[in-house]
C-alpha cells in the first residue's frame, strides 16, 4: 500500500539519519561512540517500523476494521469493558508491560559489549516483540478479550491451553525469585538503600488508608502525598546511614534480607489489595514513568560517551557475569525490550477490553512495545557509559573475581578493563555505599549509571542521593511486580487446585487464600534462598532460566498467532509471526540444550552439579561451601529439569500448531473459528468521532 504512494521527504530523511546512526554505532566506531548515535539509530528504526511495517500488518495481515464494534463497545459494563481514549489505553498498557525486565537484561548483556545487545533490541523489538504484542492484542480484541491461555486452548486444543497455564505459572515463580535476588543484592549491607526500601512499606500503607477511607479514590492526591514521602525517605536514608544507632539496624547480610522479602511477599499477598498492593502500584507507576522520561531527556541533552567496547572478548563464553557464548545467550539474556512472552498476558485479557476502535490496536500494541524497547536501549546506555572496569567490578560475582577488592580489581584489569581499588573505593564513597564490588543483579550498576547521568544533568553533585533515588525507583516497581505476581500466582494455583479440591478454587475463601499464597511464596522463596546462598550470586543461574521461560511463553503466543493466521485464510502472511516464532524456537532450544548438556560447569546445569559433587566427595571445598553444596547440587538438577520441561512445552505447542495448520490447509479441520461475529460500531463516524475526550464515550 505504502510502497506505491510517493514517499514524503520526511521518511527519506528519517531513513537516512537512521542508516547513518547505525553505521556510526556498528561500522565506523572509533575509540568511543556517543550515546546520541545509539538513541538516534533506535528512534529512527522505531519510527520507520511503526510507520511502514506496523501499518502494513494492520492493513494487510490483520485487516483491522475500524467499523467493527470492539468488545469495549459491545460489552460495555463501565468496569473492565470501557471504551477508552487511545492515548489513555496506551498509557495503561505501557505502564503494565514495562517492568524491571528491560532494565536488568540489557545491563547484564552489556558484558558482550554494547553492539550485540543494541542490535537484538532493535531487530527483535520491531520484528518480534512489537508484532507479538500487536497481533495478540488484535486476536484477543476479536475474541471478547480472552486471555492467552483461553486462546491457546481454543486455537491449539487442550494441550496448548495446559502448556500456556503451566508455563505462565512457572515463569511467574522464577521471575519473582530473580527480582527478589536483585533487590537483596541492592540492599545487602547498605543501610541507606535498606532503610529507604523499608520506608516504602509504611508510605504505601499511608497512601492506601488515605485512598480507602480519607478521600476514597482520589488517586492524584494520594499519589502526590506518597511521592513527597518517598523523596523524604530517600533523603532520610542518607541520614540513617550515618547515624550511629540507626545504621546497624538496617545493615544486613543477604540471607536475613531474603527472609524479610519472603515474609513481606506473603503479607502483601494475603493483606487486602487496597492496603499495600494498589498504593504501591500507583507510586511505582508514577516514579517509573517519571524516571524513564527524565533519563531519556538527560541522555538526549548530555549525549554521554559510551566507554564499553562494541564487542568484548566475552563473546567466547568466558564472561564473568554469566557464562555462555554470545550466541545464543544474548537472545536469552535480553528478553524484555526485544520480545517478552509475558506481554501476551497483558495484550490479551486486560487491554483489549478498553479499546474504543480496532484502529487503535496499532498504537497500543505495536507502539507501547517500541517504547519499552527504547527503555531497554536507555538501560544499555546507562550501563555502557560506565568505565568498563567499573561495570565489571560491580556486576561480577564474588565467586568469579574474589571478595577481596585489591585482588578483584587486579583480575578485572587483567581482562583489559583497567580499574583501581582507589577508584572503586572513591566511587562507593560518592554513592554513599560501603562497597560496590560484586553487587550483582544489574540494579546497582544501572543506578550508578543513572546517578552519574542525572547528577551531571542537574549541575553535578548529590551523587549519593541520585544513586539511592535510582535504587528506590528500581526496587519500588520490582516489589510491585513481586506483590502482583504472587497474587496472580495464587489465583492460578487456586484455579488449578480447584479442579481437584473444589473448595480450594474459591478465590476469597480465606484458608485457600492462605494455603495457596504460602505455596506460591514457598515456590519463589526457594529459588531466592538458593540464589542467596550461591557464591556465584545466583543471578547467573536464575536470569537465563527466566529468559528461557519468557521466550518459551513468547513462542506459545506466536504459535497461537501463527496458527490463527493460517486458520483464518491468511497462510501467505503466516511468516509475520511464523519467522519470529521459528527464530525463538531455534535459539531457546539451542540455549536450553547448552544449559542442559554443556560440559562447562559455568554454562551447563548438569555439568555444574557434577563438578560440585566431585569436589564435595574429593573434599576440596572450604567448609562454608561444603555446607551448602548439597543444596546447590540439588538446585542445579532442578533447574535442568525445569529447562527440559520448558523445551518440551515449547515443542508440544509448536507441534499442536503445525498439526492444526496442516489439517486446515488439507481441509480436514473441523474446529470452528472462535472469533466473535461482526457487529457494526456506533462509535465510528458518528458524533463520538469528532468529540474531544472520547474516553467519556462509554459513560
Amino acid at each position: 500500500m505504502t510502497s506505491r504512494t510517493p514517499l514524503p521527504w520526511f521518511w527519506v530523511l528519517i531513513a537516512l539519519l537512521g542508516a547513518a546512526s547505525l553505521a556510526q554505532v556498528a561500522v565506523f566506531r572509533g575509540e568511543t561512540v556517543n550515546a546520541a548515535w545509539l538513541l538516534a539509530a533506535a528512534v529512527c528504526t522505531y519510527l520507520l517500523a511503526y510507520r511502514f511495517y506496523s501499518a502494513w500488518i494492520a492493513a494487510k495481515v490483520l485487516c483491522v476494521d475500524a467499523t467493527r464494534a470492539t468488545p469495549a463497545e459491545r460489552l460495555d459494563n463501565g468496569r473492565d469493558f470501557v471504551p477508552t481514549h487511545k492515548w489513555v489505553v496506551f498509557g495503561h498498557h505501557f505502564a503494565a508491560i514495562a517492568g524491571p525486565g528491560p532494565l536488568i537484561g540489557p545491563t547484564l548483556a552489556a558484558q558482550f559489549g554494547y553492539l550485540p545487545g543494541t542490535l537484538w533490541i532493535l531487530v527483535g523489538g520491531v520484528l518480534g516483540g512489537a508484532v507479538q504484542d500487536m497481533v495478540i492484542l488484535f486476536l484477543s480484541t476479536r475474541r471478547d478479550g480472552r486471555s492467552i491461555g483461553q486462546m491457546a486452548r481454543d486455537e491449539l486444543g487442550n494441550v496448548g491451553g495446559a502448556a500456556a497455564l503451566i508455563g505462565t505459572f512457572l515463569i511467574m515463580l522464577i521471575l519473582i525469585a530473580v527480582l527478589g535476588l536483585v533487590v537483596v543484592n541492592a540492599m545487602k549491607h547498605s543501610p541507606w538503600a535498606t532503610s529507604t526500601v523499608a520506608a516504602t512499606i509504611p508510605i504505601a500503607l499511608v497512601v492506601g488508608l488515605y485512598l480507602r477511607y480519607l478521600r476514597p479514590g482520589r488517586v492524584l492526591e494520594g499519589t502526590t502525598i506518597g511521592l513527597v514521602l518517598l523523596a523524604l525517605a530517600v533523603l532520610g536514608g542518607g541520614w540513617v546511614s550515618t547515624h550511629d544507632t540507626l545504621a546497624p539496624l538496617f545493615d544486613h547480610d543477604a540471607l536475613p534480607l531474603a527472609g524479610g522479602i519472603i515474609v513481606y511477599g506473603f503479607a502483601a499477598a494475603v493483606l487486602p489489595v487496597w492496603l499495600l498492593l494498589a498504593p504501591r502500584d500507583y507510586l511505582s507507576t508514577f516514579v517509573k514513568l517519571g524516571t524513564v522520561l527524565l533519563l531519556a531527556v538527560c541522555i538526549a541533552v548530555l549525549r554521554p560517551e559510551i566507554h564499553m567496547p562494541a564487542v568484548t572478548q566475552f563473546v567466547d563464553g568466558t564472561g564473568p557475569i554469566f557464562g555462555g557464548k554470545l550466541f545464543p545467550f544474548v537472545f536469552i539474556t535480553i528478553a524484555c525490550g526485544a520480545i517478552s512472552g509475558f506481554h501476551s498476558l497483558i495484550s490479551s485479557g486486560t487491554t483489549p477490553k478498553l479499546l474504543t476502535s480496532e484502529a487503535d490496536i496499532r498504537l497500543v500494541g505495536y507502539g507501547s512495545m517500541l517504547l519499552e524497547s527504547l527503555v531497554a536501549v536507555m538501560a544499555l546506555t546507562a550501563a555502557t557509559v560506565l568505565e568498563p572496569g567499573v561495570y565489571f567490578a560491580i556486576n561480577s560475582p564474588a565467586g568469579v573475581v574474589g571478595a577481596d577488592l585489591t585482588k578483584a580489581v587486579k583480575t578485572i584489569s587483567g581482562w583489559g578493563f583497567p580499574v583501581t581499588a582507589a577508584q572503586m573505593q572513591g566511587l562507593a564513597e560518592q554513592m554513599g555505599e560501603a562497597t560496590l564490588l560484586s553487587r550483582t543483579g544489574g540494579a546497582p550498576s544501572l543506578a550508578v549509571g543513572t546517578a552519574s547521568i542525572l547528577s551531571a544533568a542537574f549541575g553535578g553533585g548529590l551523587l549519593a542521593v541520585w544513586y539511592h533515588f535510582a535504587i528506590m525507583f528500581e526496587v519500588l516497581f520490582i516489589l510491585t511486580t513481586l506483590d502482583a505476581g504472587t497474587r496472580v500466582g495464587r489465583f492460578m494455583l487456586q484455579d488449578m487446585l480447584g479442579n481437584v479440591v473444589p473448595a480450594l478454587g474459591r478465590t476469597s475463601w480465606y484458608p485457600s487464600v492462605l494455603l495457596c499464597s504460602a505455596l506460591v511464596v514457598a515456590g519463589w522463596g526457594y529459588f531466592l534462598y538458593v540464589g542467596v546462598i550461591d557464591p556465584n550470586g545466583g543471578v547467573n543461574i536464575l536470569w537465563p532460566l527466566f529468559g528461557i521461560s519468557n521466550q518459551m511463553l513468547a513462542s506459545i503466543a506466536l504459535a497461537v498467532a501463527t496458527g490463527t493466521l493460517v486458520r483464518t485464510g491468511k497462510a501467505r502472511f503466516a511468516w509475520v509471526t511464523g519467522l519470529p516464532l521459528a527464530w525463538l524456537a531455534f535459539i531457546t532450544t539451542w540455549a536450553a540444550g547448552e544449559k542442559l548438556f554443556s560440559a562447562d560447569p559455568r554454562v551447563g546445569f548438569l555439568a555444574a552439579a557434577r563438578d560440585l559433587s566431585d569436589k564435595l566427595t574429593a573434599g576440596v571445598l572450604p567448609p562454608e561451601k561444603a555446607a551448602v553444596a548439597p543444596q546447590l547440587i540439588f538446585n542445579q538438577q532442578l533447574d535442568a529439569v525445569l529447562t527440559a520441561l520448558f523445551v518440551c512445552l515449547l515443542w508440544t505447542v509448536i507441534g499442536a500448531m503445525l498439526l492444526g495448520a496442516r489439517r486446515h490447509l488439507a481441509g480436514t479441520c473441523t474446529r470452528a473459528s472462535s472469533e466473535a461475529p461482526y457487529q457494526p460500531s456506533r462509535l465510528v463516524g458518528g458524533q463520538f468521532h469528532g468529540a474531544a475526550g472520547s474516553e467519556a464515550a462509554g459513560s
Binding site: 463501565g78 468496569r79 473492565d80 470501557v82 477508552t84 481514549h85 492515548w87 489513555v88 498509557g91 495503561h92 503494565a96 508491560i97 514495562a98 517492568g99 524491571p100 525486565g101 486471555s147 521471575l175 527480582l179 485512598l211 480507602r212 477511607y213 476514597p216 479514590g217 482520589r218 488517586v219 492524584l220 499519589t223 489489595v273 487496597w274 498492593l277 494498589a278 502500584d281 500507583y282 528478553a335 524484555c336 517478552s340 509475558f342 506481554h343 498476558l345 497483558i346 485479557g349 486486560t350 516497581f477 510491585t480 511486580t481 502482583a484 505476581g485 497474587r487 496472580v488 489465583f491 478465590t507 527466566f546 519468557n550 474531544a692 475526550g693 474516553e695 467519556a696 462509554g698 459513560s699
Partner: protein, 83 residues
C-alpha cells in the same frame, strides 16, 4: 464559548484576542488534567456515577469508598503487571 464575551459593551479586538487565548490555554490545561485523571483512574467514580444514573437511576449507587474498594479488587484479580 464563555458567555461574558458576547454580552455587554463591545470589547476591543485586542482584549478579545487575549480572552480567546486565555480560553484556549485554559481549555488545553483542562484537557491535560482530564487526560491525567483518566490515566490515573482519578475520575473513575465520576464516570461510574454518570453511567449509573443514565442506565439505572432507580438503583442506589455505590458510595465512593465502596466503589473504590470493589474497583481495586477487580483490577488486581488478573495479570496487571509485567516483568
Amino acid at each position: 464559548m464563555s458567555p461574558h464575551l458576547g454580552s455587554g459593551e463591545p470589547a476591543k479586538p485586542q482584549t478579545l484576542a487575549a480572552a480567546a487565548l486565555r480560553e484556549q490555554g485554559a481549555a488545553a490545561l483542562r484537557a491535560l488534567l482530564d487526560t491525567v485523571r483518566a490515566l490515573t483512574g482519578d475520575d473513575s467514580y465520576e464516570r461510574y456515577l454518570a453511567r449509573h444514573r443514565a442506565l439505572h437511576p432507580e438503583v442506589p449507587a455505590l458510595s465512593p469508598a465502596d466503589f473504590y474498594a470493589s474497583e481495586i479488587e477487580r483490577r488486581y484479580s488478573g495479570v496487571s503487571r509485567c516483568c
